[in-house]
Structure formats: structure tokens, C-alpha cells
């Protein structure tokens, strides 16, 4: 730090805006994000029904959460949706991002339309698909294809994949945008050189596009994986976690435990699990990427 400052005296002298400029934002974040995370940990050791007094329960909430089969099932469902969502979304958005990065006019038009799902709220998306997937009046009847005539949301073997698909429908457009920007930042000269060497389109994709997108892939994957811990509204409106526990994701399990079964202590324990999972996964994704993104951001400062 000091060495860098000494090496570039002009920077240090000209611009050292006081860190106080960050104080209001930091204060807000401390009160409404950091403090709640702390309170979450404390609350997980209490029993509270949301109305009466909060009392410490000596880890009873944790015991009930960790021994509950529903929690285990919710962890399983979350893991599956995370994995499948990633396997669907990552390649799809990478390819679509590369595709829309092309300068052809029809691709620009397509890119405009691809963005549309981002404008709908999760509640709206869920309601639309609920109607569209209705076994009697939905797409199965409309198309006349027996393959599409399924009880999409009532069949516990199918419903998980339906949820994965609807999530992809809603979020692939966002990641496509991120990749589109990433691809457009790759220097043209790399492709020109590859063309001269006779590399085909597929070879160029694997030899240039993919390695050049490394940090975009890390960013997008982090958002995807951590984001899959926040899918709540879509699943809540689409299936309410059912049928049975087939789509009861961890955040949904937390909400239903806290705000419908009125076990706020247990809900907090689930919340702590979510936070730990989120931080752990973000770390894993970035380590897999080979460099600590957070550190690199700060080096860039």
C-alpha cells in the first residue's frame, strides 16, 4: 500500500477523497443488511412465534431444523435446482451471448426480444406459466401433441424440471447480456489472427472466446449459483413448494416455517444455512476460477 502510494505521489496528493463519502451507504448497509445477518444468527437460538416475546431456547430451533426431514428434502431440492439450473443456463447464455455479440442486424433484433422476460416480475412469470401449463386448457391441448399434454405442475417427477425451465426462461436473458458484453470486449485481432491460421468457428470459440471470457464466466456463474439460493417468488406462486415437498426450496422452506408455521427461530436457523451456503458457494466458484475476484477488484482500485 505505502509503496504504491510513494511510487505515484501525484495520485495520493490530488485525489484522496475522504472515506466519509462512503459513510451513508455503509451505514445503511450495516443497519439493513449486516445487522440483520447478525440478528439472524442470534434469532436462530431463540423460539419466537412472530408476536410474543423472544426467548432463548438453547439450540432447540437448530435441533428441530437439522433433524427435520423436510429441511433435508429442501436442501436436496435446492441442490438439484442449483445444479440443473446452472447446467441449463450457463451454456445457453454463453452461446446466446456469443451469438448476439455478432453485428448482424437480425441478431440485434433478436437480442431486443430476448430481453423481454426480464421485464416481467417473477409473480407474473409464474402466473403465466401456471396458466400455460394447465393440463386441460394449456399448451398440451393447444398444440394437440400428447407429449405436451402432461400434468406439468402436479407430477412430482416432472415439476422440478418445469421449475428449472421457467427459472431459465426468466434468467437466461440477463446472463446473455453479460456474455454479450464480454464477447464484444475481446479484441478483434485475436479472431483475425485465428482466421489467418485457418481456425474454424468452433475452434475459435474454444481457443479464443472461452478463455477470454474467463472473468465473465466467473462473474456470471457466481451470480447464477448464489442467485439460485434466492429463487423464492417464482416457485412460491408457481407451485407453493408442491406437490408434496417436490419443489420446496430452502428459501421457500424458510418462509413457510417462519411466516406460516410461525416458527421464527427455526426459520432463522434455515436463514443461517442459506447465508453460509451462499458465501461458501461464492468462494468455491471463485477459487475454481483460479483467482480471488474480490482481491482483484481491490487491486484495481
Amino acid at each position: 500500500m505505502t509503496a504504491a502510494t510513494a511510487a505515484r505521489p501525484s495520485v495520493a496528493r490530488v485525489a484522496a477523497p475522504s472515506a466519509w463519502y462512503a459513510a451513508p451507504a455503509a451505514a445503511f448497509f450495516l443497519v439493513f443488511a449486516v445487522l440483520p445477518v447478525g440478528a439472524l444468527v442470534v434469532l436462530s437460538f431463540t423460539s419466537w412465534d412472530g408476536l410474543s416475546a423472544i426467548a432463548f431456547d438453547g439450540g432447540e430451533s437448530w435441533r428441530s431444523v437439522l433433524t427435520s426431514e423436510v429441511t433435508l428434502a429442501a436442501l436436496g431440492v435446492t441442490g438439484k435446482i442449483m445444479l440443473f439450473s446452472f447446467l441449463v443456463q450457463a451454456p445457453a447464455s454463453l452461446l446466446l451471448g456469443t451469438f448476439t455479440a455478432g453485428r448482424q442486424r437480425y441478431r440485434a433484433v433478436l437480442a431486443v426480444l430476448y430481453f423481454l422476460p426480464l421485464l416481467l416480475s417473477s409473480a407474473a412469470v409464474a402466473l403465466a406459466f401456471k396458466a400455460l401449463l394447465d393440463p386441460n386448457f394449456g399448451i398440451g391441448t393447444a398444440s394437440g401433441l400428447d407429449v405436451l399434454r402432461q400434468d406439468w405442475l402436479g407430477n412430482s417427477d416432472l415439476v422440478l424440471f418445469v421449475v428449472v425451465f421457467v427459472i431459465a426462461w426468466q434468467f437466461v436473458p440477463f446472463h446473455t447480456l453479460i456474455y454479450q458484453g464480454g464477447v464484444r470486449q475481446i479484441p478483434r485481432s485475436l479472431y483475425e489472427a485465428a482466421e489467418i491460421d485457418g481456425a474454424g468457428r468452433v475452434r475459435q470459440f474454444f481457443a479464443i472466446t472461452l478463455p477470454q471470457l474467463k472473468y465473465t464466466i466467473i462473474t456470471s456463474s457466481t451470480l447464477m449459483v448464489v442467485g439460485s439460493l434466492t429463487y423464492f417468488d417464482l416457485v412460491f406462486v408457481l407451485t407453493a413448494g408442491g406437490p408434496g415437498y417436490a419443489t420446496r426450496l430452502l428459501p421457500l422452506h424458510m418462509y413457510l416455517t417462519g411466516f406460516q408455521a410461525n416458527e421464527m427461530g427455526a426459520a432463522s436457523a434455515i436463514g443461517v444455512l442459506l447465508v453460509l451456503l451462499g458465501l461458501g458457494l461464492a468462494l468455491v466458484v471463485q477459487r475454481l476460477g483460479g483467482r480471488d475476484r474480490a482481491a482483484s477488484e481491490m487491486e484495481g482500485a
Partner: protein, 300 residues
């Protein structure tokens, strides 16, 4: 990478061929159309458009007509009665609530993040670094996990079932990504500009508003629209922090509308269309800004 290294093996050809290549591209004669890519692109378009098409045509069908007709074909007798039903059921109140919450959260969030990004980019102090780490950490936190304590805190503040109670957490949750995007943009402002303003005797406060603000304006618009999308479409916090009809926001109204009119599918579809229309307008106006800003903001 390998291609670049191979390239150096042919230094004689180097100056001539790229020029020829560029000329060929300029005439627009691509060597081979990307059939597979194009096919995939059009296929994805179908996936995107079919549900949207279905929502729109369904919203114009009469209730009985909906159950009789093929859901994927437009009705010969379009009706506006579904829209009338939605508008008569408090739509404008929910719209106003959503607008208040969105503006009330986005304006302060962008302002606070803008001021925070300045020292994070320009100062090397430990405190600024700490603030930066905190916001970066916030990116990895699934903040929805904190619904129980947020419910407790908002209740203790006496803000349960108020729009202000929705605004305050929304500001906090918008900060990490906003700070990240804004500081990425600020890093690109040439150092010489700061130096010349400083030489002219400007204080950091003046520099912030006279130099940094105009230079980051595109990014500010981008993050404002991005955050507005998130707050406008937010569902979980309104669900746990409000209950009365007076404080209801649009996404929540969709859900309660569905509870009330569960058999009236066309009316539900009309409510989906109406609640999305304001964002379509914003998208039409600010698309270029939003898209270019987002793609740049996440790619550093």
C-alpha cells in the same frame, strides 16, 4: 492464445493479410453463414415469445371463450372486459404504491452508492478498502435469507405495513451491485482530469459533482433502471412487510388477484400485462442505455 503465437511464425505475411481480411469483411461477404448458431437463436426466440404471445392473446378472451378456444390462437371476438376488471380492482393504487416504493428506493440507493464509489476508487485508505470489501461480500450474500430479522427490525421501527418499511431494506439491498458497477465506471475516468481540476483549486466535493457525476452519468442511468426493475418486481419483502390493501404493490396484487379470481384466467393474464406495461415503456425509452451499461458493468 495458441493462434496468436502461431501467428508470429509468419512475420512476412503479417502486414498484408489482415488488411485483405478487413477489406473482405467490409464488403459484408462472410465466409460461411453460421447455420447452427442461427437455428439456435431462432429456436430460443420461439421459447421466449410463445409464453408472451399466449399471455397477450389470452388477456383479450372472454372467460367462457378462453375455456372453449385453443389457447394459442387469438380469439375472433376480442374483449376488453378483463382489463376493466383489473382496473376496477385497485390497479391504480397498486401502481402508485409501486411507483413510490421504486422511486423512494432507487434515487437514494444510486445517490449513496455514487458517493461511496468515489472514495472506493480514488482513496487508498484502509476504511475505503473495508467499505469496498463489505459491499463485495454483500454481492455473495443471499440477502433474502434475512427476512426474519428484517421483519423484526421493521416492526420495532413501527414501519410494518408502510411503504417506508419497504423502501429502507430495498435501498440497502441495492447498494452492493450499484457500488460495484459505479466504481467500475469511475475507474475509467482519466487521472489527468482529476489532476487538472485539482490544480484549478477544486475540492474533492466539487470534483465529485462537476467531474465524476457527468462522467458517470451513463452508468448512473443504467444502475437506476436495473435497480428499478428489481424493486418494481420485488415480491418477498412486500409479502412479509405489508398486509393491507392500501399498501399493496403490483407484484403482490397479482398474487392476491389470482387468489380472488382463480377461475378467471383471462383477467389474471390481463393483470400480468397491465403490471408489465410500465416497464415495457421504460425499456423502449431506455433500452440502449440499460443494455450497454449492464453489459459493460459486469465485465471488468
Amino acid at each position: 492464445m495458441a493462434a496468436v503465437i502461431d501467428h508470429s511464425r509468419a512475420p512476412v505475411e503479417q502486414p498484408r493479410v489482415p488488411v485483405a481480411g478487413r477489406a473482405r469483411r467490409a464488403r459484408g461477404a462472410r465466409p460461411r453463414p453460421n447455420l447452427l448458431g442461427g437455428l439456435g437463436g431462432w429456436l430460443w426466440l420461439v421459447v421466449i415469445v410463445v409464453p408472451i404471445y399466449y399471455i397477450v392473446i389470452g388477456s383479450f378472451k372472454s372467460q367462457t371463450g378462453y375455456f372453449d378456444s385453443n389457447p394459442l390462437l387469438p380469439t375472433p371476438e376480442p374483449t376488453l372486459e378483463n382489463y376493466a376488471t383489473v382496473l376496477d380492482n385497485g390497479f391504480f393504487r397498486y401502481l402508485a404504491n409501486s411507483a413510490v416504493v421504486t422511486a423512494g428506493a432507487v434515487v437514494p440507493a444510486v445517490l449513496l452508492a455514487f458517493m461511496a464509489a468515489y472514495p472506493i476508487v480514488r482513496s487508498r485508505s484502509r476504511v475505503a478498502g473495508l467499505a469496498n470489501s463489505m459491499f463485495l461480500m454483500g454481492l455473495a450474500l443471499p440477502l433474502q435469507a434475512t427476512i426474519v430479522p428484517i421483519y423484526l427490525i421493521i416492526g420495532e421501527l413501527g414501519l410494518y405495513d408502510t411503504l417506508l418499511g419497504l423502501v429502507l431494506p430495498a435501498i440497502a439491498f441495492a447498494l452492493p451491485v450499484t457500488v460495484l458497477i459505479l466504481s467500475n465506471f469511475m475507474r475509467d475516468i482519466p487521472r489527468e482530469l482529476f489532476e487538472s481540476m485539482y490544480v484549478d483549486g477544486a475540492t474533492n466535493w466539487t470534483i465529485l459533482w462537476r467531474l465524476v457525476l457527468p462522467m458517470t452519468r451513463p452508468a448512473l442511468t443504467t444502475v437506476a433502471i436495473y435497480n428499478a426493475l428489481g424493486v418494481w418486481n420485488g415480491f418477498l419483502f412486500p409479502l412479509i412487510l405489508t398486509q393491507s390493501d392500501e399498501q399493496r404493490v403490483l407484484p403482490l396484487s397479482l398474487w392476491s388477484f389470482q387468489g380472488e379470481y382463480s377461475v378467471n384466467v383471462p383477467a389474471i393474464l390481463a393483470s400480468v400485462v397491465l403490471s408489465t406495461l410500465p416497464l415495457v415503456v421504460v425499456y423502449v425509452i431506455g433500452r440502449r442505455q440499460l443494455v450497454s451499461g449492464l453489459t459493460a458493468g459486469f465485465n471488468r
